[in-house]
Symmetry: none
Subunit: 402 residues, 2 copies
């Protein structure tokens, strides 16, 4: 449904929608025919929400496609991840909690080592410690200036990784990587694929030339190579797309950034699960929609630690029990993708999902798990549909057509 049609259906009311995203929620059995992490975990609250609600299996991108965190969250936020591609540089900027504007071009920079002839001898400058990265970035910010009033931002990520943002009018992001992808070569010259990007290349070159001079005596980090230049094209906000005043409760920069990308208000960084619930409660009256992000179901899956993932699911289940006292109009529990401990990685498997609302039509599913959700009333469908279904259950959408 296009933006304009969707906007014509907006209906204002005070009903609350709470989206709980358990990162990498979907799992897999460790032995053929065994239970998944979610099926192994004791989840009395999830099971009760499932029994009282409607469940299904949702595909973040397409059946068979393994999503990164960016595409995964775009699906949860109701965007088609194949049509809404976020460039690598933009994702990196989101990942350091940087607030991008529509005048920004972002890229990922890696400190590297050049020899006396300008040949790259180490593409990661020996993975320098983060505090050296910070010191060098500070030195650069102090000395390097660009012409024509073009602003730049240089932010340390970790080890050899940094993020570079150019800000100005009429900039373009169609610029090749200067990283030649192997040692033994000089950094490639940046070139622009269109007029705006050619104009932008001028400032990239200015920046890199000054950096090279400034870091000439440093070892091993004496230069940058750049990757993933991308112009930031702001997406429709949650307010514009759904008529929702939305808040994000998330600890990790990438997910705070992804929420910022769709115009959510980012609440203060919570330190623990208790703080997350306090934030939800304290801000409950001020927003229509809450995105709450739990990371550990993904990281334990990436570690291949089945039991740890089961433990995290159980902790979050306990946390979820408290939502009942707030009595939201709609509670959704889903993931941005699957991260089975069996694969130690993101996977393509669809994500078990539940929607709990007085207005949903209950299905027969009484447990929240991959196998049970196959038979759920949401069926198997694209993740991007979920936001609209939630809006409907919150009675925030008018009839389409007469």
């Amino acid at each position: 449904m296009n933006l304009e049609t969707l906007q014509s259906l907006h209906l204002k009311n005070d009903n609350k929608i709470v989206f709980v995203v358990m990162d990498g929620l979907g799992g897999h059995s460790m032995t053929p025919g065994g239970k998944t992490e979610l099926e192994t975990a004791k989840t009395p609250n999830l099971d009760r929400y499932a029994a009282e609600g409607i469940t299904g299996m949702l595909d973040p991108v397409l059946p068979g496609i393994t999503p990164g965190s960016g595409p995964g969250h775009l699906g949860v936020f109701g965007f088609d991840p194949l049509e809404t591609v976020i460039g690598r540089g933009v994702l990196s900027a989101l990942g350091v909690d940087f607030e991008l504007t529509g005048r920004d071009v972002a890229a990922r920079l890696n400190f590297c080592t050049l020899d006396a002839n300008g040949i790259i001898t180490d593409r990661r400058a020996g993975r320098i410690p983060t505090d050296l990265n910070e010191r060098l970035c500070q030195k650069i910010r102090d000395k390097v200036k660009l012409s024509d009033g073009i602003e730049y931002f240089l932010l340390t990520e970790s080890e050899h990784r940094a993020v570079f943002i150019l800000r100005g009018d009429g900039l373009g992001g169609d610029i090749n990587d200067t990283d030649p992808q192997q040692v033994g070569f000089t950094p490639r010259e940046p070139e622009g694929g269109d007029e705006a990007s050619q104009r932008t290349v001028k400032y990239v070159k200015e920046f890199l030339a000054q950096v090279r001079e400034l870091l000439a005596d440093e070892q091993p980090a004496n230069m940058f190579i750049a990757r993933g230049f991308a112009k930031f094209d702001p997406l429709p906000t949650m307010q514009e797309k759904y008529g929702l005043k939305a808040a994000a409760i998330a600890k990790y920069p990438m997910y705070r950034g992804l929420a910022r990308l769709v115009g959510m208000n980012i609440l203060e960084k919570p330190n623990d699960y208790e703080a997350m619930f306090t934030q939800l409660k304290d801000n409950y009256d001020d927003y229509d929609f809450f995105f709450i992000h739990f990371k550990k179901t993904d990281s334990t899956g990436e570690d291949g630690d089945f039991d740890a993932k089961v433990g995290k699911v159980e902790l979050i289940d306990e946390w979820l029990g408290q939502i009942r006292e707030l009595d939201p109009s709609v509670l959704v529990v889903t993931g941005d993708h699957s991260t089975p401990s069996y694969f130690k990685a993101h996977s393509w498997h669809p994500v078990p999902t539940l929607l709990w609302s007085a207005n949903c039509r209950r299905d027969a599913v009484t447990e929240f798990g991959e196998s049970s959700c196959n038979a759920g009333g949401l069926g198997r469908q694209p993740m991007k549909n979920l936001m609209i279904i939630a809006l409907a259950n919150a009675l925030k959408l008018k009839k389409f057509g007469a």
Copy 2:
């Protein structure tokens, strides 16, 4: 997902994918509430694969749309049959095992009977025997020559049916049928809808004029009427689209042709089921992907012979038991469409499908049948997704996005 994005996700490994297509697999009960052919058949191997794998109901074109063999197989090969239309002439050429090139325009020809005034009195020339068709085609090939070095091929299909292929640079297929669809009229003049097709019409007219003169004294087959002109536009190959070296094991020309259309290597025509397995085993190390086509589940369905279709399913089930010893990374069993004996024809019903792999997330289905597959983990989805899901389970796809 567009071709370029899909290509960016290719991952090479030695894992094998075996696609077994039981033509017209889906069935129907003969009495309300009864079992289908597949549900009636004793299928211990299919049931075990289903129990150990994941199942679902797949729509070859769209729910409610009855597919021909062309669209049905395009869906299985991962193409959208609505966007990838194969002209009738091209399908006819595939059906006689003709190897088309990108310089070819194909059409279906029917021998017809003209009276002394050039009026069509029989659009099928009394359905002449195939050997007369062959004799006449040979006579034409011996005598009829085209100008400008344009090549043509004329191939007997059966009875009054033949296939005509023009080969040359810059030809076009936007040419109307010369068949007026009823007797009592002269054949229509061919006209081209664009410049390339207008150019092509010149050679069509040369051909038809010479044929008319040459066959003037023949009875009843003294002329051709032409239908379904189509330029052959080569599709992306399995190698290009999926990075797969693919082989086809199929006895019947149409299916060999459809596999050729997507660049599969067509193995020698097998005479029986045993030969099909021998071919698979003997070529197993040389390919990433095998398409294996069983025809009889369709033809028995077309005959309305429920018991015969049950028998064929049981034979193929036995055959499928042998696949286990090859231990492919992914085994898929599906059909190109349903052909219920009850309808004696192709039908629109979705196709029961199973995917067996160590990497699939098992569902609760333990029998391979229409009713049971409704509850499977693949859910109900378009057939065109199946190739991508198989690639994922064979670990041949990278993560999409960061």
